[in-house]
């Protein structure tokens, strides 16, 4: 089955999931990543998604997806029932990102977490020079209707996992579809992808 190219952060995740792994994609959207993992890597790929139309689209792709909310419905999964739990571009939309991270690491042996970096220089500039909440390529929605209610930066995430004793196995930083270095990430990365474990 032919797939359209994955979003850059999803491509990073797909490239780093082991073949045949059991995967739960939380906030799986239209199922693009799940379908790629199933068809390309033979994964047992399942999803959770809040939007009914997206769930219907996933079922249409032959995927197993449950309509649910990352904030409240992750409790239904047994401990360590997946090799990987994935949360892409969703952390910043949850009510309690800290608790969602705990759930991910309870359900999955490891977790991929990707999020837009709010400390990217364009965002900083927008806020500094215009004094306005930034509307950028990656954050295209105005403050009053954005689903992103808990913005965070690469530095915030690093600090959070350090204080919670969560291990960073690997991290990828993206600017467009190019990667950028670890050191400059908090300034130059638009997207961050972390692979974490307990």
């Amino acid at each position: 089955m032919a797939h359209t190219p994955l979003r850059p952060d999803l491509a990073v995740i797909a490239a780093n999931v082991t073949s045949g792994a059991r995967v739960l994609d939380v906030g799986c959207g239209d199922g693009a990543l799940l379908a790629a993992l199933r068809d390309g890597q033979g994964c047992d790929a399942r999803g959770m998604e809040i939007d009914a139309a997206n769930v219907a689209a996933c079922v249409g792709l032959g995927l197993s997806v449950i309509q649910g909310d990352a904030d409240t419905d992750l409790a239904i999964y047994p401990d360590a029932s997946f090799d990987y739990a994935i949360l892409s571009q969703t952390l910043q939309t949850t009510h309690r990102p800290d608790l969602v991270l705990d759930q991910l690491l309870r359900i999955g042996r490891k977790a991929f977490v990707s999020f837009p970096n709010f400390a990217h220089w364009r965002v900083r500039m927008s806020l500094l020079w215009n004094g306005r909440m930034p509307v950028t390529r990656l954050l295209p929605v105005a403050w009053y209707e954005t689903p992103n209610i808990h913005h965070l930066s690469v530095a915030d995430f690093r600090e959070h996992v350090r204080t919670r004793g969560i291990k960073v196995e690997q991290a990828w930083f993206l600017s467009g579809d190019k990667s950028c270095s670890d050191a400059a990430a908090n300034f130059r990365a638009e997207h961050a992808v972390f692979l974490i474990s307990r």
């Binding site: 047992d44 399942r46 009914a52 139309a53 769930v55 219907a56 689209a57 996933c58 079922v59 249409g60 792709l61 032959g62 995927l63 197993s64 997806v65 449950i66 309509q67 649910g68 239904i76 999964y77 047994p78 029932s81």
Partner: protein
């Protein structure tokens, strides 16, 4: 309906072996009336079993022999439709206890007299046992999918739990794994209405020229309300009066909604047997998939009941305006299947028609159905 059901056009299977039942008895010479659509593939791998709801029948996509109305799921089943009969061999049996050709209280017992209340009390699993006997007779070892809404969904879940090797997929729409107390309560009202009708005669009304039509109509009226949403009733009827300018200050059907319910109740008695209504609703109130594994309130136990089906793909659908089998019931099943490790999809669709949404025009349901059956 006063007389035993006549022979309809449906194909009849007479079981050679007595059918064992959950109550411990056996049903001799059990007959199953069924319809099929499409062609069974040489590998016999394209069969889809559709299980009908409480007062449904085998005429899922063909006209009803009494009312002449199109099949009850005509919009879903047929060539090029979501359950595509160009591709699938669709089997739809009339359930055990019903009155459309399959053995029920209106059928003749082995002694030649009508069963009436001598018909054994049956369960949802007994209905499915009859379905499995039909699959055996048709040479279908494994279904592509078993599909059902409402009581049909209960049968689909029961088949998965008790005969998991017989299907690859389960689609349960607006269903439950255990009949909630509120639904047991509504059905008890219906049964009491029938049994309070003097024409019921302890169930032995066949051949007397009198049937408990009044009681059956009241049962249908009460049930019909539970199938609709408040929104539907409000939009369709509101407080509008029926064929009159002012209230009559009497007990005639002043309101349109009253007239509608009376019509629905009366029309129902033309096509359904009161004793069948007693037996089928009893089977539903007894339904609790997890009862052999502790109580259904405990998700772990329902997960145990569904564990044998962990290789089966499930799709559960609920509707946001369905207060009879609300979303929470489907969610409980989804949680249990998750715990059992079965591949499960679950979605709550938005539709205005209450429990009846599964029978009506909900394009999102068509999309989910098409996709789930596809691969």
């Amino acid at each position: 309906m006063t007389e035993p059901a006549p022979d309809f056009t449906s194909t009849l299977l007479e079981l050679a072996e007595p059918l064992p039942l959950d109550c411990g008895k056996h049903l001799e010479n059990a007959r199953i009336a069924y319809e099929t659509y499409g062609i069974l593939s040489p590998d016999k791998d394209n069969a889809v079993l559709i299980c009908h709801a409480t007062t449904g029948d085998q005429h899922v996509a063909s006209p009803h022999p009494i009312t002449g109305k199109p099949g009850w799921w005509d919009r879903m089943v047929g060539p090029g439709k979501p359950i595509d009969t160009n591709r699938f061999y669709v089997i739809c049996p009339n359930v055990l206890g019903s009155c459309m050709g399959t053995s029920g209280p209106a059928s003749a017992a082995p002694d030649g007299a009508v069963y009436a209340m001598r018909f054994p009390v049956i369960t949802i699993r007994d209905m499915v046992r009859a379905h499995v006997a039909l699959l055996d007779a048709l040479g279908v070892e494994r279904l592509h999918c078993v599909i059902g809404g409402s009581m049909g969904g209960m049968q689909a879940l029961s088949l998965a739990a008790h005969w998991p090797e017989r299907t690859l997929r389960v689609m349960a729409i607006a269903a439950t794994a255990a009949m909630p107390a509120q639904n047991i309560a509504f059905q008890e009202v219906g049964r009491q209405a029938i049994m309070a009708d003097p024409n019921w005669q302890g169930g032995a009304y066949y051949g007397t020229g009198k049937a408990p039509d009044a009681g059956l109509a009241v049962a249908r009226m009460a049930a019909h309300i539970t199938y609709l949403s408040e929104e539907t009733l409000g939009e369709k009827f509101g407080r509008r009066l029926q064929d009159r300018e002012a209230k009559s200050f009497g007990f005639d059907a002043d309101f349109q909604v009253e007239s509608y319910l009376r019509y629905q109740g009366a029309a129902f008695t033309e096509r359904f047997d009161a004793n069948s209504y007693l037996y089928i609703t009893r089977a539903m109130s007894y339904f609790d998939l997890a009862e052999d594994h502790g109580d259904a309130e405990h998700v772990g136990r329902l997960a145990d009941a569904l564990a044998p089906a962990k290789h089966v793909r499930f799709c559960l659908v609920s509707f946001d305006t369905d207060w009879l089998y609300p979303t929470i019931e489907s969610r409980k099943i989804a949680h249990a299947l998750n715990a059992a490790g079965a591949p499960v999809s679950f979605v709550e669709l938005s539709a205005p028609f209450g429990h009846d949404s599964f029978l009506l025009d909900v394009p999102a349901l068509d999309q989910v159905m098409t996709g789930f059956l596809q691969r």
